[in-house]
């Protein structure tokens, strides 16, 4: 059996090699935490330094562009990296002061010689020419780019590499799209999927290894969200241990992680609460406090460190849920990063606490069933993930099975895909004995209330 590092190296070698062959396009699918940005970084450096090409790198947001600029700016030889940005963009200090990063605001200032220029898709689409200006276009997080936006930048380079995670949240198009619903390469479709539909012969590859997710998590995430894209975990060296022993049953969910169950669910009694659920927020924050109170230590790829709030994240489906958690954190837990799934894309933490999107609801709408949203939520952690929700989600899914609203010529049914993924996750957790009753928040928020 080939070890994960070798698998990852082979895949990277093949991607790099494709550029020496001059293939017109590569669609590179990546599981969560497989090092997509690292691949983009290496492709860009190879293009500019070894192939002597002009390479443009496309990101979807400014934050992603900053991240890539930082990485590329640290290159070994001090090779200059160009950052194409709007005039009034507020650059982070480390990007602004990095000697290797040169900010350009006018497209006429883009260097004519081999080099790397980074910009977000929106900025690239306002370039005032219809001609190709580069040899290679590397699109990072390409599955977040709808095809009509990609079309506006596609002819800036004759060759493309589109890198992204097909399991995450689909591109957000906020207008009515019924007119194109039956077109599998329609303007609203993610750009790599539309490209493959139009040109099935383009080179397609997958990264075989997740560097972020641990083995236990991959056992759940891969079949639930990537049933046709096998991958494995790079590292088995992820451990949590406590200096302070747990108390049964209060610490059962936390202690399960020390016993190897890296993804577990904490269930509160069934109740319809709407979006905001004060008890879940109580329970979740009490669990974070308990994790820190018990003097936890983490071992992550050989590095042992004391667990701190900065290593912890909370992800929710709605802003109101985010605020319910933030309200309870206080100054001592200010380092805990709490956000919605949309804004958590591309971010990781050692420990994640997840507010289940279907918890407390009477129905199961397309937003809450979205497979991409749940996938983002369950794939941000390196070491452990605790999901919080109301009991009865599996039954709720059975009651709200997809109605089968299909479009002619479209095989994909996002609602069914989401429903199936949710059901797979709930079944897996139940069968693996990963469901634990809530206890902390109930006590903290309502003294005197019966527990159990």
């Amino acid at each position: 059996m080939t070890d994960p590092q070798t698998l990852a190296d082979e895949a990277l070698r093949e991607i790099l090699e494709s550029q020496w062959q001059g293939v017109p396009a590569v669609v590179l699918r990546s599981p969560p935490g497989a090092g997509k940005t690292g691949v983009a970084q290496r492709l860009a450096l190879q293009s500019a330094r070894l192939l002597h090409q002009r390479c443009m790198v496309v990101t979807q947001t400014n934050e992603q562009a900053f991240d890539l600029a930082r990485r590329l700016g640290r290159n070994a030889d001090g090779f200059p990296i160009h950052f194409y940005a709007r005039k009034d963009l507020d650059l982070p200090a480390d990007v602004r002061t990095n000697g290797n990063i040169r900010v350009i605001e006018e497209f006429g200032h883009i260097p004519q010689q081999p080099g790397i220029t980074i910009g977000n898709a929106a900025k690239w689409s306002w370039i005032d020419t219809g001609e190709a200006m580069f040899d290679l276009q590397v699109v990072d997080e390409a599955f977040q780019l709808p095809d009509y936006r990609f079309q506006l930048i596609a002819n800036l380079a004759p060759r493309l590499v589109m890198i992204g995670d097909p399991g995450q949240i689909d591109p957000f198009v906020h207008c009515e799209i019924e007119r194109w619903r039956c077109n599998p390469a329609g303007p609203q479709v993610s750009s790599p999927a539309a490209l493959v539909k139009r040109h099935p012969g383009v080179m397609q590859m997958s990264l075989p290894v997740s560097r972020r997710l641990n083995t236990d998590t991959v056992r759940l995430v891969q079949p639930a969200f990537y049933p046709e894209m096998p991958f494995e975990a790079m590292s088995e060296d992820r451990e949590l241990r406590f200096d302070v022993a747990g108390i049964v049953p209060f610490d059962a969910a936390l202690d399960a992680v020390t016993a190897g169950a890296k993804i577990v669910m904490v269930e509160l009694p069934p109740q319809l609460t709407g979006e905001r659920d004060e008890e879940i927020a109580d329970e979740l924050v009490a669990s974070i406090r308990r994790l820190l109170m018990r003097k936890a230590w983490v071992r992550d790829d050989g590095v042992v460190s004391r667990v701190s709030p900065e290593m912890i994240g909370v992800v929710c489906a709605h802003v109101s849920q985010v605020n319910a958690v933030r309200e309870r954190l206080g100054r001592d837990l200010a380092g805990v990063f709490v956000e919605t799934a949309n804004r958590y894309q591309g971010i990781e933490r050692a420990f994640m606490f997840v507010h289940h999107p279907l918890s407390g609801r009477a129905d199961a709408s397309a937003f809450h069933l979205d497979a991409g949203r749940l996938c983002v939520m369950l794939s941000r952690h390196r070491v452990a993930c605790w999901i919080f929700g109301r009991q009865g989600i599996a039954q709720q899914l059975t009651r709200y099975a997809p109605i089968g609203d299909r479009a002619l010529g479209i095989d994909d049914d996002p609602e069914y895909r989401g429903w199936r993924a949710h059901l797979t996750v709930m079944s897996w957790l139940a069968n693996a004995g990963r469901l634990y009753p809530a206890v902390h928040g109930m006590i903290a928020s309502a003294p005197g209330r019966a527990v159990g």
């Binding site: 190296d9 990277l12 070698r13 790099l16 090699e17 550029q19 020496w20 062959q21 001059g22 293939v23 017109p24 970084q41 290496r42 450096l45 190879q46 070894l50 070994a76 030889d77 090779f79 689409s125 306002w126 370039i127 005032d128 020419t129 219809g130 095809d147 009509y148 079309q151 506006l152 930048i153 596609a154 002819n155 004759p158 060759r159 493309l160 198009v173 906020h174 207008c175 009515e176 799209i177 019924e178 007119r179 194109w180 077109n183 390469a185 329609g186 303007p187 490209l195 139009r198 040109h199 012969g201 709407g274 979006e275 709605h318 802003v319 109101s320 605020n323 319910a324 309200e327 804004r343």
Partner: protein
């Protein structure tokens, strides 16, 4: 949370046994010459027109029925009969610099008209094609936010009223009107059940089809086969009466819906003014393109689709921006859903950064718990178009969010605001010209179609440069 407002309104309507008003301002423009178009298709023939009634508010309908719309000549005759009516109306709107507006009974009827318009453009009769083109204006506009060209009476009414029944049940115009004006002294559900006996969409009742219409059509066709002109006329007349009995109440109900919404109790909505102007401008462009002979394809090319989706997205933004400014209910929904920041001014001050360089800062507090805000967001005062702030930090402390911001525009006005003032901040004023500017840029960018959106994939072009023996190591040395 905005859903919660809807649920509360519906519960109140249920409690009262009568629809409740959910807005005080008009949500739709009613054009003075707006046309009411009611069509009935034949069962199993979704794109046929068995009967049509056309007219205006306050005017009796002109009705035409064909005995059997499956006969192409008869069907085309009916459609050709309609063409002058719409040709004249469109020409009049064009001459006046305004836009045509068609009212149908429900979303189902709207879908029927849209599908029919697409179908008619590809027939072999020029007059029928022309009618399809004219109706395509309404059909293509119908899914676009804020459009005023094709209005379904049920959608227009439900934008003003909430009933005590489910949303899908509101699609029956008769039931909806019963909720809005219930008969006195009767149980609302009994009255609604009675109203639902009458078809209100684009199709007749299946029982009516089986028991009455189908036998009549069969007898008509037999008479035609037998070349019996008298019997043919007799059965055609019978079918005419039958279909008129169905189509007249739908036309009347649509008129009733328009009349309710024309009532002066609905306050002026300034957001609709710009929507009317946009509609007129879109209509003028549509007709110019027809004059120039541009085709209306059934499927969009990738390039055409990109233009259309960009226009739609821009329109959504502009319509939302217009409504949160001028529509009280839309602003309340925005505050509930978190797209509008409703904050109390806690602090505002002028800070000296350097000699003669100042920055105006403000801090607002809010208890909104669904606020969609992050550092860098630009927000505009919804009641003072000059004031714009850029968010620098959002901090949640207890049940309150503290929003810190720099004033980008309207610094003097900001400093004059009283501490404790409640401000509504949201998206920038609608920028209808942005679509035109973006289109100009898209024309430049898409002057030559990228191969990714064309037919042929270019061949691979291997590099002639020397390849390192250990590629991975060579690249890693660069990182």
């Amino acid at each position: 949370m905005a859903d919660l407002l809807n649920v509360v309104a519906r519960m109140r309507a249920l409690e009262q046994g009568q629809a409740v008003r959910i807005v005080s301002q008009r949500q739709v423009l009613i054009q003075p010459g707006a046309q009411i178009l009611t069509m009935l298709s034949m069962a199993g023939e979704d794109t046929s027109v068995h009967a049509v009634a056309v007219g205006r508010l306050g005017v009796a309908p002109r009705i035409k029925v064909v005995a059997d719309p499956r006969r192409r000549d008869d069907q085309y005759e009916l459609l050709r009969w309609l063409l002058p009516h719409f040709e004249t109306y469109y020409a009049q709107c064009r001459a006046e610099g305004t836009f045509p507006q068609i009212w149908v009974s429900s979303d189902g009827a709207l879908g029927h008209l849209d599908t029919l318009a697409d179908r008619l453009r590809f027939t072999d009769d020029q007059q029928v094609q022309r009618l399809g083109e004219l109706w395509t204006y309404a059909g293509e506009r119908s899914p676009i936010a804020g459009q005023q060209a094709l209005i379904s009476a049920t959608s227009a009414l439900t934008a003003h009223f909430a009933t005590g029944q489910q949303e899908t049940e509101d699609e029956h115009l008769g039931a909806l009107l019963t909720w809005i004006e219930p008969p006195p002294g009767r149980d609302i559900f009994a009255a609604v059940a009675m109203a639902e006996q009458q078809p209100m969409g684009a199709k007749t009742d299946p029982r009516f089809d089986a028991d009455e219409l189908q036998p009549a059509v069969a007898l008509f066709n037999k008479a035609r086969k037998d070349n019996d002109v008298r019997a043919q006329d007799f059965h055609a007349g019978l079918i005419q009466q039958m279909m008129e009995g169905v189509i007249r109440p739908i036309y009347t109900a649509t008129q009733k819906g328009m009349a309710i919404l024309s009532d002066p109790r609905w306050q002026h909505n300034a957001a609709l003014v710009s929507l009317g102007e946009q509609e007129a401008s879109n209509f003028a462009r549509f007709m110019e393109a027809r004059d120039e002979g541009h085709r209306l394809p059934y499927h969009d090319s990738a390039k055409a689709a990109a233009f259309k989706i960009v226009a739609r997205e821009r329109t959504v933004d502009n319509v939302e921006a217009a409504f949160v400014r001028h529509d009280h209910a839309a602003r309340e929904r925005g505050a509930e859903s978190g797209t509008v920041l409703r904050g109390t001014l806690v602090d505002r001050q002028k800070v000296r950064l350097a000699p003669r360089i100042f920055e105006t800062r403000m801090v607002l507090s809010t208890a909104q718990d669904s606020l969609h805000l992050r550092a860098g967001d630009e927000l505009w005062h919804l009641d003072d178009p000059k004031l714009c702030i850029r968010v620098t930090e959002v901090e949640r402390r207890g049940p309150i969010s503290w929003v810190s911001a720099i004033v980008d525009k309207g610094k003097r006005a900001a400093l004059q605001l009283d501490i404790g003032n409640v401000l509504d901040l949201g998206p920038e004023n609608p920028d209808w010209g942005a679509t035109v500017r973006e289109f100009a840029q898209m024309h430049t960018r898409l002057a030559s179609a990228p191969w990714t959106h064309a037919e042929v994939v270019p061949p691979a072009m291997p590099s002639i440069r020397p390849r390192p023996n250990d590629l991975l190591a060579a690249v890693e040395r660069l990182v």
